[in-house]
Symmetry: D5
């Protein structure tokens, strides 16, 4: 099962606002209806407060979804909640992009707080 | 004939505003003047209220246009109306992109409500 | 000679504002100075009022420039005027993109009315 | 049902061997197991003998598969047979490329006679 | 564990030699040293004898590697052996392409029999 | 009407075999059935004997087809013949690529003599 | 030496505001420190007042920099000044993009007046 | 160790605000945890005040990080600070893009002052 | 200094000939004339005999060139020799691709033994 | 004037046959008829005998054509001759690719000796 306790942090190197983006190309979970695997990528963007997420722990956290059945919309919001709770960022955005099933591919975007204007889309 | 009763919904997993985009690459209908098939893709973007559209039902709804004669402009507005009625979303946008005839390809955009600024174009 | 009487219209299928874009990849006219052919593409974007342009008539209208000598800047503004007069749209934009001569390629943009913010560039 | 009698021909303009390739981007048929539509493109390459295929008749022949249930492998070989019978070419090759289902996309190649070495791929 | 008994076949629709290619974009297995997931795509190309592989069964066969620890080189050769045994093809080629670890991405190619010259890459 | 007398030549700068390729992106002629314009590009490849084609004269020769009705297959072979007669090359190849009509785009290849192996496709 | 007297103008064909963009792909000057050639492209965008720049004269003006030693930053501002003086435009923007030296490539942007919002970047 | 004293400047050629962007494709430093090399590119964008950075000195400054252990987030902020101190620009932005480790690639953005709206993202 | 003793091997999983390709995107060494860093990628292709190269050891071997001064041509041949000695392969090919200096980018190819025809270029 | 005495060599690091390719993106000369500049890229490929060309000297040799009037076909053969004379290679190939004039872009290929089969095109 997905496990937010895997997430580790380190202190931000700057007190100025800045932007961090981590793009994970290799996310997989299971469709809760059919059991077939879903594949996608996860874009995490945030403005750190006092904490940054450690990159290897982020990877292990994403891997904890590998054999879990969960819908696109739910996994996007859960990752958004887990990272917001762990990092207490100025703002945070999760974009999930899914390779698709039956000729339809999808993108889900969840945001907490207010991203700076130069960091939209 | 196209059939909005095919659309099924499920409850949104979050009460926060977020964005869902489904891109259907394989849409086809018929030109009402010539009877020749048109091919295109349909981009659905919306901010869910209480409901999300179930993906397989969306696919079947799109397939119900396969042997229907309908203009680009009309099919775009009809899909926009059908999905707005079924989902009662915060906002919704349909973009249809058509492979074209006689050297001209086309794009039609219909919107209901106000998309967030980070989700334009 | 270019002939706006070729343009035909049909009633818009929606009273809501929406956006129509037709991209003609195969436009050609003649350079009025050298007589050599120019090649380009014409992007028409508009918000229909009561009328939409019929696609085949648009194609024939564009073909009527084939053996006419006219500068990039002039043809862009003339198409913009002819279509604005025929369609009486909420807004209308013509973008012409030219393959170029002597290592310089060009783009001309003429606009009437106010395009919606999600439809810039 | 698919109908090879739709194919029309015209005399080849040259007695020298040459190569003709027609790429149809918008082919659709139905999966015979599920009834869901398949989408793909069909590449026809041939060295004409006395006859060339007329382009509009080829398009109508392809459209005759629209509501027929047939597997990838079978439709590729049937088109190859129908066109070989109609054109009696020096050689002929059909490549079908399918957008895919469930994360797998496919390509099928059927050949009659010996394509020239500069026309492999 | 990977399971070749999942593979199903159907009779080839033609007695002429032809070529079939199935590209699976979403393959995943585990690294046997680190336990971390590997991601890649699997290209199957073959000249059918009497049998073709059924597409959904191929997908399930690939999914059976999901939680198995196996090296790039071994999984490529095993898939090549399993499909050769099930299909008894004229020739068969497996190409696996891996997204990579530590800045190195890889491709492995295993072949049984003699692919036709127009089908090299 | 197309006019091969427009073609001018100059002496080859080398007695060694070499290869010349000129790609004209902006060719247009008329469909002899419908009168609608066709657009394409023309690739000329040849091994010069004693003569090379002068580039501006080649451009004017191509422009002489602008208002001529002629099929894809015929124009390809005629250009091949006209240039072979004017240049008496070791070998010569004309590839025409057409933007297409009704969802089908085409490529025609005519060759005289034997292109060197490193210059195929 | 670079020579703004080469620039010629013609009257704008419209009294409405519109946008003109000319992209010169083949600009070269010399590095004033090393004497080595620099290569880049120059994007000119402007909203014409009463005058438009004649395209061939623009090309000759750009060619007048061919053997001049001048820094990226200086040539961008000088072209911006010369064209603003010659055209008296509503607004004008020069973007220079340089292929780079030692693994660093550069872009310089100089603007006079206020470009319309749909014409940024 | 990274060395800001390597940075050299020259006077800006214009008192008008303008924009300078230098993209260094070949940056490398070391991961402070594992000692493995990181590879990325560094985009510097700024509006010069009285001073511009000399390009060769910028390259040497970047090279001074080659054997230093430093996190993505820290190196981005340090470069932003060093260049802001050396140039005293109207505004300055550093974007670092990293090729990634373990399937995750990253981008960090640090900004000082207010970039003009046409120069976002 | 570069160190071939870092290379580790494991037994090939198949006695049949097959092909392995590892592409390292992040290679860097120093120019022996100027001391400036060179950046490139290294493509290793081989037909294993009894041994395969272990991927992490290959990465460490490549990293051992990081602070060594060596020409493009020499590093390509040295890697080819070191891997041939360690693996005793049926055949082996090293392709190095360099980002370039002063507007020239380079590729060097060294081969030992006879690659199969489907694995050229 | 172009000056082959600028070319410098160094001893090949291997007695085995191998392949060297240098791609110069920024070549310019003048059209001898019009005096307008031509822009292109020069691909040099060769199998070294005892000598390799030094990269900086190659760049200076190419720069010596900057203000010389010379046709595409002639410059390609002259570079081929000059480098063959300086390097005495096993084989050598020059490919020049020209950005084009009047909608036609060109490629010229001159070869001395016999390139290995894996190095065609």
């Amino acid at each position: 099962m997905s496990d937010p306790s895997l997430l580790e942090t380190f202190p931000s190197p700057s007190s100025e606002p800045f932007v961090i983006e981590h793009v994970a190309e290799e996310f997989t979970a299971l469709c809760p209806k059919t059991g077939h695997p879903d594949f996608g990528r996860i874009i995490l963007r945030y403005g750190p407060g006092d904490l940054c997420v450690e990159l290897k722990s982020l990877k292990l956290y994403y891997q904890s979804y590998r054999n879990q059945g969960i819908f696109y919309e739910a996994v996007t919001n859960r990752i958004c909640e887990d990272l917001s709770a762990a990092l207490k960022p100025r703002w945070l955005q999760i974009v999930t992009e899914w390779r698709g099933r039956g000729g339809i591919h999808s993108r889900i975007i969840a945001t907490r707080g207010e991203p700076p204007p130069e960091f939209k889309s």
